[in-house]
């Protein structure tokens, strides 16, 4: 599992490559928690799962856990780049009903930043 984190204003963008299971979900949780500690202003989360080749219920639980964390701060959570294999588990688990879905990280970012614009305007 390869995780890369990037912050764009109040958005945390996490790109995942490899397999998200019991072992790697723990790494994912720790890295996101560290990012929140260092940048308490973070509000929204975008998970790019296009490079994810495997996920199971432990991986889904870790995504749900992060969803709860960002929802508590009033943020939005996007899952982007969903491939069919990962998609059927997001579907079966009901996660698709709680997170937002976008094709790419750019699209998700535009939607988050557009929202801020329209609230302001």
């Amino acid at each position: 599992m390869n995780l890369s984190l990037e912050t764009i204003e109040d958005v945390l963008l996490v790109r995942m490559r490899g397999e998200l299971d019991l072992e790697t979900a723990a790494k994912f949780r720790v890295l996101v928690e560290e990012a929140l500690d260092h940048r308490p202003g973070l509000k929204h989360l975008i998970l790019d799962v296009s490079g994810l080749s495997f996920i199971d219920s432990s991986g889904l639980g870790a995504i749900l856990g992060r969803y709860r964390q960002f929802a508590e701060r009033g943020g939005r959570v996007f899952v982007v780049g969903v491939q069919p294999g990962v998609g059927r588990l997001l579907e079966l688990s009901g996660l698709f009903r709680v997170v937002e879905v976008a094709a790419t990280a750019e699209e998700a970012l535009a939607r988050v930043q557009g929202e801020v614009g329209s609230v302001d305007g």
């Binding site: 397999e19 299971d21 019991l22 072992e23 199971d56 219920s57 432990s58 294999g85």
Partner: protein, 154 residues
């Protein structure tokens, strides 16, 4: 299943450590791939099921530290049978454990592990005795990706 002999089989034991979840699912997947009729989706279903059941042993079976996990697989001309067994704490109520969203460890456990196993394998039998351990027996047949109806055997 009568006296039918498997064309191949293996028996594997390892400690209930998190890195072995991935090890177990890739081992069973490599073995099951010997049956040409399995599609990539069938193999993916097997990987998920093994991942769930072995994760359960790692998380639930041995609250005091790692213990042994036994994985056995038998390959027949028309299916693979997989057993994952532990000598851990056991499950108090197996029927409840199989329900979607039932978990004894809330937090980040979703209670979907055994639900996925039932969705992706053709047949699943869980036997457990509190204090003695748990045994999950699973069967996967080629091309069964979607259906999970009753099987004519057993």
């Amino acid at each position: 299943m009568g006296e039918e002999e498997p064309v191949n089989r293996f028996s594997l034991t390892f400690p209930s450590l998190a890195p072995n979840v991935s090890f177990a699912r890739s081992t069973v997947a490599a073995f099951a791939s010997q049956l040409d009729q399995f599609t990539l989706e069938d193999i993916e279903d097997i990987r998920i099921a093994v991942s769930e059941v072995v994760s359960n042993v790692v998380i639930h079976a041995y609250p005091k530290g790692a213990g042994p996990v036994r994985v056995e697989a038998s390959l027949y001309h028309d299916r693979v049978e997989v057993v994952v067994a532990d000598n851990g704490c056991g499950i108090a109520d197996v029927e409840k454990a199989k329900e979607p969203a039932f978990t004894t460890l809330p937090g980040e456990r979703m209670g979907l592990g055994l639900t996925f196993v039932q969705a992706y394998m053709d047949r699943v039998e869980i036997t457990s005795r509190p204090g003695e351990g748990t045994r999950v027996f699973m069967v996967k047949r080629p091309g069964s990706g979607v259906s999970k109806g009753q099987l004519p055997e057993g």
